[in-house]
Amino acid sequence: MADAVIQVDHVTKRFAGHTAVHDLSLTVPGGGIFGLLGPNGAGKSTTIRMIMNILVPDEGRVTLFGQGATRDLSDRIGFLPEERGLYKKMQVFEHLVFLAETKGMARARAKERAGAWLERLGIADWRLKKVEDLSKGMQQKVQFAGTLLHDPQLVILDEPFSGLDPVNSQVMKDVVVELAREGRTVLFSTHIMEQAERMCDRLVIIARGRKLVDGTLAEVKGRAGGQHVALTFGDGTAALAAPVLADRALVRRLDDYGASAEVELAEGVPGQRLLQALVGQGVELRRFEMVEPSLQAIFVQLVGRDAATAPAREDGDA
């Protein structure tokens, strides 16, 4: 893969008590949005830190833009760590200029860019305020701007949407999509599958430091197999469906949301049979649709057991 922006080859990282990442390989091609998915404690942040060369892998190697060490390449990378942090006493504008300068940008250009980004994220009026006077959401925006100021080709975001309200989350999402549209590569980690499903072109799911599946969204879904049905129940009839859905002869796996459900049919069972059984029970159906499995369903199927036994503590990484 000559055009791979990130190439992770058989990487292993051990900490004192446990192995955080085990023999992990992944390839992020140039352009598009790549999702790094996994439950808490899966090794997502550790993987990202190794990609950023903050941690050095015990085994294997990481290649960026076809080259080795990262710090020399850091000017081409924008990084938003999971632990957000800014100098509390600094002025917003000064702070952004400083962050751009640490990426090697000349001061004059840094000022220009900082102004432009504050404008774009709608916080230009706050440029002379101290960081500590800003709300948490605004601080996140400042940090986000700091990540993107130097116009990086590769943007790595660790849990970018955590702790954001829906409005700010939307603003960030728009920016991320815009970045990908401009031909940049975005890698972000999350454990929120709905978001990943809507945004990612490609993804990898890891749990307990090991890769479970990777590929494009369509590939991952195709590989999951099985017949999936999305159901939405009429008022007050959800309870009537329970015995049908609990029938292992009909339903292999159930993802119950109360008023709606996603089920995987048992092998060889046509959708018609389930419909008949439900109608026979007097269940009122507002939706009965044969669907592709949702990423959430695939994730739970792959990770379910692992997630329940995820290591309790992992040196502050997730």
Binding site: I54, R84, Y87, E94, Q143
Partner: protein, 435 residues
């Protein structure tokens, strides 16, 4: 280098712009001056005449003469130093003494009848041994005791001379005071400075080094802990190497230190060179009359600055490592003890050097990097060292500096991203060894 420069610039500007810097710059010399002046002012405070009971068990009028001398003693405002009560006590000295001691230093509540501040015991047996005895509340006052001691001693000497048949005019001549005047000789030339001035200079330099290293070293440490608590470290470490970051911080804070000291030094120079004029403005006499201020030769200044800068770099990186292994300011207060103690040892060494600035101990310590930032400037100020020795000491210090910085950078590199329990010594060693 552009990146390091950005860190230096931020560190410098963010510090110099704070109120704390402005206040510290003005307040510190004031506080220092108070510390210096307060004990002197307190010691000079007018405490009034002391009520002293003299137990006189002497023969031949020795006691009378002492009493006469003491009753004539006056302070610098011409007031009597002592109010004396003489109790003749030949043969029963101890009993009289003890009864008087019971009336000495009583609290106001218990004070009925006559009370005393002290009891002076003079008896032949004791004087023959060359001793007199004073029991009192003010024995801890060096000034009081020196004056009392001198007066008693001179009177006794005079009595002895008279006893040998020398008349009182001759005795007075023999007992005329002789004060030792000192002047420092430097490299075969008289400097015109008194010994006190030389001591003052060495002490001032030593103190400045001590304060500077601790003050600014602690600032480096605090700034690194701040970076950890605000979690900005990870963002920065993805752009700069940990070493670049540490270097930027140490240099940035170092420049703040030089700025502050520069302001102090300039102020001090202006104050001393215009001291006469300023004193006149406030209607005082020339405060520097009779005192020749110590001169700071350009060579000494160079040596001082060189060793201050090298010493700062060494200790600041040690403080940086301490900051990186702690999670909060409270934790650093305990963890920095080894570094701060080492600096304190260097500071205290001066007193060992004053006696023998070119002795074996001094020569050896000159080449010990942890203390040479103190030893070399102090030695140089007392008596100039051979250039080769200074260069050698500087090289040794640079070697030590590189070693300490290397270790500190390795600890820093891992510590800055580690949270939770503080590392044990074993863990620190592992941090240093990991590639």
């Amino acid at each position: 280098m552009h990146k390091v420069w950005a860190v230096i610039r931020r560190e410098y500007l963010e510090r110099v712009r704070t109120k704390a810097f402005v206040i510290g710059t003005f307040l510190f010399p004031l506080v220092l001056g108070l510390f210096w002046a307060l004990p002197l002012l307190l010691a000079r405070r007018d405490t009034g005449a002391k009520k002293v009971a003299v137990v006189d068990a002497t023969t031949g009028g020795v006691g009378d003469r002492v009493v006469k001398a003491l009753s004539e003693a006056v302070d610098d405002k011409g007031r009597n130093r002592y109010v004396l009560t003489v109790v003749p006590a030949t043969g029963r000295v101890d009993a009289v003494r003890d009864s008087l001691v019971q009336r000495t230093g009583l609290s106001a509540k218990r004070a009925e009848g006559e009370t005393f501040d002290g009891v002076l015991v003079l008896d032949d047996a004791r004087l023959a041994e060359g001793k007199s005895l004073y029991l009192g509340t003010n024995v801890t006052s060096f000034a009081d005791m020196r004056i009392l001691d001198g007066q008693v001693e001179r009177t006794i000497h005079r009595t002895r001379l008279l006893g040998l048949g020398i008349d009182s005019a001759q005795a007075a001549e023999a007992l005329a005071r002789v004060d030792l005047q000192t002047e420092k000789v430097n490299d075969g030339r008289r400097t015109g400075e008194s010994g006190d001035a030389g001591f003052f200079l060495a002490y001032a330099m030593d103190f400045l080094l001590y304060m500077g290293l601790i003050l600014y070293g602690m600032q480096v440490m605090g700034s690194i802990v701040e970076e950890k608590t605000t979690r900005i470290a990870e963002v920065l470490v993805s752009s700069l190497t940990p070493f670049q970051l540490m270097l930027g911080k140490v240099l940035g804070v170092g420049l703040v230190g030089l700025t502050q000291m520069g302001i102090w030094a300039t102020t001090a120079m202006l104050l001393t060179s215009y001291a006469t004029q300023m004193a006149a403005v406030f209607g005082m006499g020339d405060p520097t009359s009779g005192v020749k201020l110590p001169t700071v030769s350009p060579q000494l200044l160079v040596v001082f600055l060189l060793f201050f800068v090298l010493g700062f770099l060494l200790f600041a990186s040690a403080y940086a490592a301490v900051g990186a292994m702690c999670n909060s300011t409270q934790e650093t207060q305990q963890a920095n003890t080894p570094v701060t103690m080492t600096i304190a040892v260097g500071f205290v060494l001066m007193f060992a050097l004053l006696g023998e600035p070119n002795g074996t101990l001094a020569r050896v310590l000159t080449f010990v990097p942890l203390v040479s930032p103190f030893v070399v400037p102090v030695r140089y100020s007392i008596s100039p060292m051979p250039v080769l020795e200074v260069v050698g000491a500087a090289l040794a210090l640079v070697v030590g500096l590189v070693a300490i910085t290397w270790v500190a950078a390795r600890i820093y590199r891992i510590g800055i991203l580690s949270y939770g329990k503080r590392p044990t010594l074993g863990e620190l060693w592992r941090w240093v060894r990991t590639a």
